[in-house]
């Protein structure tokens, strides 16, 4: 039982990472209506910027908002400059540009900051939680911040005109323009938000996995998986999906097949979920009667 609890909790801790990324994935999906393969690398790059600022002697809680703002601006600029000219290109061409961004960020980070791993400080104290060592303070703090972000995003999309307009622009750009929404700017804004959320995720994840250009590779996969399992239309579902993937992966590794095939198992599980519920566990099926 003790072992089970420990495995579950450590799965939850990993799950918090995935949930964080899944949230960013769903954000950009809501804003631009497809996946951004470069999202993990953008988050990694933001984290390096934060690391650099701390090297220059700035304190964590100053670096944090500055990095979020820089990342937001970076996201907007990338959309304007790189995607602006090819809005009308086929979806698969966009996918190629995502892949290009992926290589560029990964390679540039390695070029500027090198591929050696770097420790990244946690803003939370290194204390045991409630006298147990089952879960670290940082993990708890990270789960907390993820949930706070989730609530903010929910409120933004649900109750602000801009949030509603962003959803509309992604789902039906033609109609959106007919009510006076500037679809171009909504896309840029969506990229900005997604980059900002990615930056937060990166800064929270880095203390757990060390900072290096490839740190997001595996994590992004699980983040995507969490988002899809939870349902791409639902930020809450994405967070739940992220936790679920973390726990499933850990328990499968501990009990079923050993760590060798645990990735495979997690992925099989995900595909299984999708077969039973094609819109994800919490996703809404889109209906249109005509």
């Amino acid at each position: 039982m003790e072992y089970f609890l420990q495995q579950t909790l450590s799965g939850l801790a990993n799950g918090a990472i995935y949930a964080c990324v899944a949230l960013a994935v769903v954000m950009i999906y809501q804003a631009i209506d497809h996946f951004n393969f470069a999202q993990g690398e953008m988050a990694m790059f933001s984290t390096f910027i934060a690391w650099q600022m701390m090297q220059w002697g700035m304190p964590f809680w100053l670096v944090f908002p500055v990095c979020v703002v820089i990342s937001f601006a970076g996201g907007v600029v990338i959309e304007r400059v790189i995607f602006g000219p090819i809005h009308n290109a086929p979806v698969l061409s966009h996918v190629i540009v995502f892949i290009a961004l992926f290589s560029i960020f990964n390679s540039l980070a390695g070029f500027i900051w090198e591929f050696t791993i770097k420790p990244f400080p946690s803003p939370f104290p290194e204390k045991d939680v409630l006298g147990t060592n089952l879960i670290a303070m940082h993990e708890l703090g990270m789960i907390g911040i993820t949930l706070v972000m989730l609530v903010m995003i929910y409120l933004f999309f649900r109750f602000t005109p801009i949030g509603l307009a962003m959803r509309a622009a992604a789902a039906n750009p033609v109609s959106a323009r007919l009510v006076g929404i500037s679809v171009k700017w909504m896309l840029s804004l969506g990229w900005g938000l997604a980059a900002a959320i990615g930056a937060v995720a990166g800064m929270l994840i880095a203390p757990m996995v060390y900072l290096e250009p490839n740190m997001m590779l595996g994590i992004l996969l699980y983040g995507f998986a969490g988002a899809v399992v939870g349902g791409l239309t639902s930020p809450g579902g994405a967070v739940a999906g992220g936790f679920l993937v973390g726990v499933a992966e850990n328990l499968a590794g501990a009990y079923v097949i050993g760590s060798e095939l645990k990735l495979t198992f997690a992925l099989v599980l995900i595909v299984g979920v999708l077969l039973l519920r094609p819109a994800g566990l919490f996703g809404r099926v889109v209906v249109n009667r005509v």
């Binding site: 307009a165 789902a171 039906n172 033609v174 323009r177 249109n288 009667r289 005509v290």
Partner: protein, 236 residues
């Protein structure tokens, strides 16, 4: 100068030309209809006004030239387009659809007022306010499209075959509402229809379109009483 004035309008999809020099105009407060068979270029005409297809010629609305303007900026001048196929945002609720219609309107009070007026015209939408819009029936979605346009507090409404695919009773109801919107809200309307009887009944002026050209124009009475129109469009 007329409220909406279109001169020498040409429109293109890729290399194919869909409109070959249209001229027409619309008086403030009036209802003008554009009639024509499938593929005549009616939808393209409305899309041109909203800057949604490549076009040249001249389009002036209340003294502003619309050529070369982005769709969202044209809309901001007070032109609401009820598009072919209704353009429902299917994933969100009825009320959110309406709120989107008021995207360009400032002030919570103004928006609430507009919403009340729409619910007044279309009580059915109020009943369905929290329902996912994609699950509304065809008639309800058409009402939603008109309602969404009305939220913009438009001065000109472009309506693309609002009767399409609806049961006759619903069409009758909808057209009565359109008439009162025109009366009460002082909204001018440009109505595109294949159903000529209906349209001529509502409109004061009419233009007849064939393969991207105006072939006849006049008051609705004149057009309705024309022998050729009677035979090929009105069917009696």
């Amino acid at each position: 100068m007329a409220f909406l004035e279109v001169k020498g309008l040409e429109a293109f999809y890729g290399h194919t030309q869909a409109l070959h020099g249209l001229d027409f105009e619309l008086e403030e407060g009036g209802i003008t209809t554009i009639l024509g068979a499938n593929g005549a270029g009616k939808t393209t005409t409305l899309r041109s006004i909203c800057g949604m297809v490549r076009n040249n010629g001249s389009i002036t609305f209340d003294g502003n030239s619309l050529i070369g303007k982005a769709t969202e900026n044209i809309v901001r001048l007070g032109i609401a387009h009820v598009p072919e196929g209704r353009g429902t945002f299917v994933r969100i609720t009825t009320e959110e659809n309406l709120r989107l219609g008021a995207y360009t309107i400032k002030g919570a009070k103004n928006i609430a007022d507009a919403m009340d007026r729409v619910y007044n015209y279309f009580p059915r939408l109020k009943e369905r306010r929290n329902q996912q819009a994609g699950t509304l029936s065809g008639g309800e979605q058409q009402m939603l499209a008109v309602g969404r346009a009305l939220m913009l507090r438009p001065r000109l409404m472009l309506l693309d075959e609002p009767s399409f695919g609806l049961a006759p009773l619903i069409v009758k109801e909808l057209f009565e509402i359109l008439r009162s919107i025109n009366n009460d809200e002082k909204v001018s309307m440009l109505l595109v229809e294949q159903n000529a009887t209906l349209a001529l009944n509502l409109a004061d002026h009419a233009y007849l379109l064939e393969t991207g050209r105006v072939v006849m124009s006049g008051t609705s009475e004149d057009i309705s009483s024309d022998e050729a129109v009677r035979q090929s469009y009105l069917g009696y």
